[in-house]
Symmetry: C2
Subunit: 397 residues, 2 copies
């Protein structure tokens, strides 16, 4: 079903109109459209927004639908990494099943695109990636999943990982991942040379986790910028978290942002409440692409995150002390078109010609819809209804 | 109905048992209790916790159930204050009706006790207080409401306010409030002498909003401590927010905490995601009483907060980077028994002899229940069922 007529929706909260979808794209927006033979959905005056984009998550980590995971690990990053690698096996965490549960929950909550990091390490090899690749294939037409081959356990500190990342790119990963070149991998030059080399070899982009705060993170960020420039990878690199951009030194951050803008490096935020984070308005203000994500959901790391980009909009906005209606609309844009821009999705919008990827949300104004937080009334992907009332239509298989 | 038998509940997640309530107090916890003539509720293995305590909110501010309030104010504290004072009248914000909506929503979400600040200012006089006093009276037996007479618009900068606060204490307010003696009221000595004088005159406690960060907040805090000691008000003063205790200078904060402990000053947190906040474990670690609150809910200040202490537990925990199961239980305790200790509620627990004030929440373990975030299955106040499935039983009148 790629033709669909949706009656009585309000694009971004504007006046009610009908939307005709042909061949998975938005063909027309007008009142009282007639299109015989085309299935009809009644939106009841709901607000339409471009499909939500989960631009930073880990589909391979969740324990959703399994026994409650009792977390006694604490919050040291390296301890959490080691714990998870062991727990994967002990818990029998099936990456195909779990990633499908997670992805479908996102679909129910209005998501049409996902960028997921997927662990690649010398204990689990490519088995985790293979499971998520299965889910990506199974959910084709329901949600688009972009995969980052992610050296979660470290790269230089665990020889053999680089070769596995290389194989992951051949096996179907879209981007090369990286992780705290100083803080975790203890060899910033080695780490960044390795992942940039791999990205260059495969002609793919990079999305690197950078939790490193303050000057350490700024140092790693500079090394990333140097390699981006030298390899001509402008517009192909994203930095997830980028906590260092939240440091208090205004002039230092200004300089970094200016260099990031020069290389068109994208920023992905989770609005981590307990950390210094990049300010949304400041990042957007220098023209950078910015998306958001829920990060891992109900996993061995964290019990708090939910597979719900409206919930994430609230968290990012609260962290950024955003309260005004205009700011609520802005943070929602980060969670939809912003993430799409980072992922390089063309035609993500509500204008004729755009992909018919959208979500219908309840509320009189866009701000009210964001503050209320759903549930999303309907998710549409390529003209196909994929979710209703916060639930995906496709069952987990 | 102050006698009740609840079958098959699990106190704090322990094994299932029955709870017999007599005359509004917990009489017995045992399996297979027989109590003929006593009404019976089946808990179905739900976890029982002491009633949730909303220890920092503003019942008089919410626009719940009214038209969506379009916020174009921004985030400057004084602008928000001035905007709200005007908006009260423009919106026709009825303090009795709105405080009842807010309080009952809290009841549905497991709350048995509320401490609310209520605005007293020279524009609105005591009219706002009178509305909330009406709600307190109307909800007697359903939820206990403690009222802080709160000079939201400033005290020294708005002559006549002190006299109104004095009248508020006579009219039924329980505590004297205060607000940023430097940042808002521009006269720390004048402000603190005034509110401590009033508290001393009426023999009541103080709960002061202290948003002031860093050294400014620490200075105000020292002035509060001096007056607490001199007036012999040990154990009768609470500081809400206390953002200055989140400043990075570890030794400075250590000194302040030690002095706060000496005067048994309580700390109330909202876990404000965009601010530096007092660390829960650190505050508890020096033996201070600590409670939490949702702050204003859906008002002219902020669209994000919800009248839901389980939601607040999540926000406080995320801000504190708490992830482990034991920490989830700790933050829940802050949101129930912690707040009760700040409010001076005796017998707030699940042991025989305690008040039968409790909430039944879904989950296999306490941590899962907190992470899931409800809805609360049942709220019980003095042995009376006041809420079911996240909804209050009493209607707004």
């Amino acid at each position: 079903m790629t033709d669909l007529l949706i009656r009585n929706l309000r694009p971004l909260g504007a006046s009610a109109t009908d939307m005709l979808i042909r061949d998975g794209r938005i063909a027309e927006l007008a009142s009282g459209i007639n299109a015989s033979g085309v299935p009809v959905e009644e939106a009841g005056g709901a607000i339409a927004i471009p499909g939500l984009v989960e631009a930073h998550t880990h589909l391979d980590k969740t324990v959703m639908g399994m026994e409650w995971y009792e977390n006694a690990v604490g919050t040291d990053l390296r301890a959490m990494i080691d714990n998870e690698r062991r727990a994967r096996r002990q818990l029998g965490l099936d990456p195909a099943r779990q990633s499908m549960r997670h992805a479908l929950a996102l679909v129910g909550n209005g998501t049409t695109h996902i960028r997921s990091h997927v662990d690649v390490d010398i204990v689990n090899g490519l088995s985790v990636l293979e499971g998520v690749l299965d889910t990506r294939e199974a959910l084709r037409g329901i949600v688009e999943i972009e995969i980052v081959a992610f050296p979660q356990s470290g790269l230089m500190i665990r020889p053999g990982t680089l070769e596995l990342l290389d194989q992951a790119m051949v096996a179907g990963a879209d981007l090369v991942g990286g992780l705290d070149p100083c803080g975790i991998d203890r060899d910033p030059k080695g780490h960044l040379d390795a992942i940039f080399g791999l990205a260059d070899k495969h002609g793919r982009g990079i999305d690197i986790h950078l939790h490193e705060p303050g000057e350490m993170g700024a140092f790693s960020l500079e090394l990333i910028l140097e390699r981006t420039a030298v390899l001509g990878m402008k517009g192909q690199v994203a930095i997830s978290h980028a906590f260092c951009l939240g440091m208090p030194d205004w002039t230092r951050v200004e300089g970094l942002l200016s260099e990031l803008a020069e290389q068109d490096v994208a920023i992905l935020t989770t609005g981590a409440p307990s950390r210094e984070v990049p300010a949304v308005k400041r990042v957007l203000g220098v023209g950078l692409r910015m998306g958001a994500g829920c990060d891992g959901v109900l996993d061995t790391w964290n019990p708090w995150n939910r597979p719900d980009m409206l919930d994430r909009a609230r968290i990012v906005a609260q962290k950024n002390n955003m309260r005004a209606d205009a700011d609520l609309a802005l943070v929602l844009a980060v969670c939809s078109t912003g993430g799409a821009a980072v992922m390089g999705v063309a035609g993500h919008g509500l204008e004729p010609g755009c992909n018919a990827d959208l979500a219908l949300i309840p509320g009189r104004t866009l701000a009210e819809a964001v503050a209320t937080g759903g549930p999303v009334l309907m998710t549409v992907k390529g003209g196909r209804v994929t979710g209703r009332d916060g639930k995906p239509l496709r069952e987990v298989s």
